[in-house]
Symmetry: C2
Subunit: 476 residues, 2 copies
């Protein structure tokens, strides 16, 4: 057999790049000279290769302008509905499921009850845009002169000032700026545990944490958490007496998915249980500012500054896309900074600067008051709609903050079956099994109430009808 | 003993916050009402607490305006020079040393031969500023609608197009956007190794990698690397035959600190040594674009797309502070995306968008040509200055790209001693011991030639004098 001629090899390579999307339909291909140089072939070989691409219907020459990727005629796209939801729940791993939640969120056609995203309309986007434009006009922020692994000093100071105003003193020196609350928790776990260690977590609890544990090779010990009051401290004590737990990760205020608020005296007891055993608490307070009551709830951190690492972010109230979070790490700050420096060097300077200016500009408090009221109303609206449209046997954990609602389905309704059916109808929900590494809570779902409109209300009624049908099937 | 009265406790807390810098000198303290509410005390207790702060000389009342942190009179600051460099090299851990390099870089008083930072004057800052301002005018980028864990599609496509033009085809689908090359390498290691595993590295090699290995609990196997050609492949083969190595991390083009360029045929052999054993290569190509010759050197990745993960970033040529890097991970892309999602969710959207627009805007190639010429001249200038001002017995690894120069000191000169002495004279250098976990290479230093001016030339002459003195001492 003859070897494949060089121009044909080159055409094959170009074809692969076109089909992979490197050069999208309609875009200009590299010039013949560029292509020849990059591939190290002669101009005549490049010309032959491009002509072959023309013959294959992939490229077209335009006079005076070079070669372009030809638009291909396709059959009209058919939406393969069965493709959206997994068919067999047992074959879906936590991370595939959570990945699909992540993607459904990006599809504007889906009813947004799945991922725990804030309503984009309730973010201070215009003000951030103005701040960024003014930073750009001042110029020069592309320089790394302010790239410290712990983050911008002005941002850390603003965070400490706000925390003080909220009644929990933390200092700028113990704050490390992170890529969202996600990286804050990752770094705390890296600083307190080694692969193979046991970490106590809430069950049900935030599924993103399960992804972190998996990525770091850590094992999870599930501690029951209850709607209303959150983590069961009796269960925690029992577990700590019987297992070599290296850290606890918990959400004390408006937990995900329960929306539970740990009572003040339970926070006292939590701090003392852990402090007396020297087991660190990684406290995730991402929803703490979104309270519906009179007063911001406290954090456990204020009971034991040394042993508790407080994690939060601006992803729920200012901007998820900026990826700016923080941890106040007490005596473990140096260990956290070291790992931050090792793994990502530091957070991008521009978004840090924009958030720092936003916090300093005033208006954040008024913004928070407005979104607290909005989310309280939306949660109330969704709770009433569930009560009206879901069948008997449904029960609801009504939260006092945040925008997540934990719903128990009628007996016999499997949340994974509902998830798949809802996905086919383009309604995103989070099935309960996501919130436990051992796939407990299969008769629960979590609903995001952050967006609430006539459209979403209608979608919720449709969801209620599905639950009713599945409940009827279960009774037969 | 009487208990401490509540107002005094509150004053103590405020004092601690003032001294910690939460409220800097001259700044406004919270109003009495805010303070009383946040601490849950009465107005009269708050008034007593603030008066006590006044008595302590920490706060002052300003009429109609509230309390301010008083400026404290201090003795003039004395520069404690001996404080800057470590006294006993043996007590300095790699990460403390590298942290101090990181900080020296931020001190404009230091001669910048230490950290491997590009010259800020050679970054396209004005153009980036204009791009960011125009993105801000368009509005709306604070939304997370484009927060995919793998990064913005337009950026991934631009990277693939540029790689194709450079002669190594990678596809947008295998690219994951990261927080610099640092996170790219971290994710590759997390995707291929577990804690306790053995990773082969170059010696001398990039010290940031040592920090990553430490943070992830991985062990390092040092493979000798040589000025000129880089990693010794004979040593690598021997090591792989005798140790359970799980991955190799290497810089094939203009390595740090050697500035070595692996010959094309060695890249072939490297790909085949690893491919036949199924050991993945994490290829760090961060200096690949900064070649001084006619043609961009190739990457090993183009020899074995599946087994080689190619890491790079825009930190050396566009902006270090943006923290935008990438990895093209072939068959391991899904594993990398999963870990990216778990540990940081995704890269900040705004810097990604700015870099994508910059790449699309044209002008990047002209910028690269300009900085290649500039760095080639600076490296040449520094090499000549070393030859002129360092004593006999010094030798230099002259690089063909990048801006790092590896210098062998005359016999008996300890680079840690030189490091400490130079730091006292406000000259930053990177001692050779930084580049090996077993602290080899103590008679070498790495010099950053990215900034080259009359001032830095003078500093280099001063450094040469120090080397001469230490060499004289060693001979006695």
């Amino acid at each position: 057999m003859d070897p494949i001629p060089l121009y044909e090899q080159f055409a094959d390579e170009l074809e692969a790049q076109i089909l992979a999307g490197t050069f999208p339909e309609g875009s200009r291909l590299p010039s013949l000279r560029e292509a020849a140089t990059s591939r190290g072939v002669s101009m005549s070989t490049a010309i032959q290769a491009f002509r072959l691409l023309e013959d294959r219907g992939l490229a077209e020459a335009r006079p005076q302008s070079g070669y372009y990727v030809k638009r291909r005629h396709k059959a009209p796209k058919i939406v393969v509905e069965a493709d959206i939801g997994p068919v067999d729940p047992m074959t879906v791993s936590i991370d595939e499921l959570s990945m699909s939640l992540f993607r459904d969120k990006l599809d504007p056609g889906f009813a947004p009850f799945g991922a725990a995203s804030p309503d984009p309309a309730l973010l201070p986007i215009e003000k951030l845009d103005r701040i960024v434009a003014s930073i750009a006009r001042e110029g020069g922020f592309a320089q790394d002169s302010s790239l410290w692994p712990e983050g911008l000093e002005e941002l850390r100071r603003s965070i400490a000032q706000r925390a003080f105003a909220s009644g929990f003193p933390i200092t700028p020196d113990e704050i490390v700026i992170t890529a969202g609350c996600t990286e804050a928790m990752s770094l705390c776990l890296l600083a307190t545990c080694r692969a193979g260690d046991l970490v106590a977590i809430e069950s049900p609890g935030y599924f993103g944490l399960l992804l972190i544990l998996e990525a770091l090779g850590l094992h999870a010990l599930e501690i029951p958490a209850l709607p209303g009051t959150g983590l069961s401290l009796d269960a925690l004590e029992f577990a700590l007496d019987n297992h070599p737990v290296k850290a606890l990760v918990a959400m004390t205020n408006f937990s995900n998915p329960l929306g539970a608020l740990m009572p003040e005296e339970s926070k006292d007891r939590l701090a003392s249980i852990l402090g007396s055993r020297g087991i660190p608490l990684i406290e995730n307070d991402i929803y703490g500012e979104l309270y519906f009551g009179e007063k911001r709830p406290s954090v456990a951190k204020s009971r034991d500054d040394e042993n508790i690492m407080l994690c939060s972010s601006f992803s729920k109230d200012i901007s998820p896309g900026y990826r700016i979070g923080w941890v106040a790490a007490g005596s473990r700050t140096k260990e956290i900074v070291k790992r931050k420096m090792a793994l990502t060097s530091g957070a991008s300077v521009l978004p840090q600067l924009a958030i720092a200016r936003y916090l300093e500009s005033g208006g954040y408090d008024a913004h928070l008051r407005a979104i607290r009221r909005a989310y309280a109303r939306r949660v109330q609206g969704m709770v009433e709609a569930i009560e009206a449209s879901f069948p008997e046997g449904t029960s609801i954990a009504e939260p006092e903050g945040g925008y997540l609602i934990w719903v128990r389905l009628p007996r016999g309704v499997d949340s994974m079956e509902l998830y798949a059916e809802a996905a086919r109808a383009r309604i995103a929900i989070a099935p309960g099994t996501l919130f436990s590494p051992s796939r407990k809570h299969k008769d629960y779902i979590r609903l995001n109430a952050s967006v609430w409109s006539q459209k979403t209300e209608k979608d919720l009624v449709r969801l209620g009808t599905m639950v009713e049908r599945l409940a009827g099937k279960a009774r037969r």
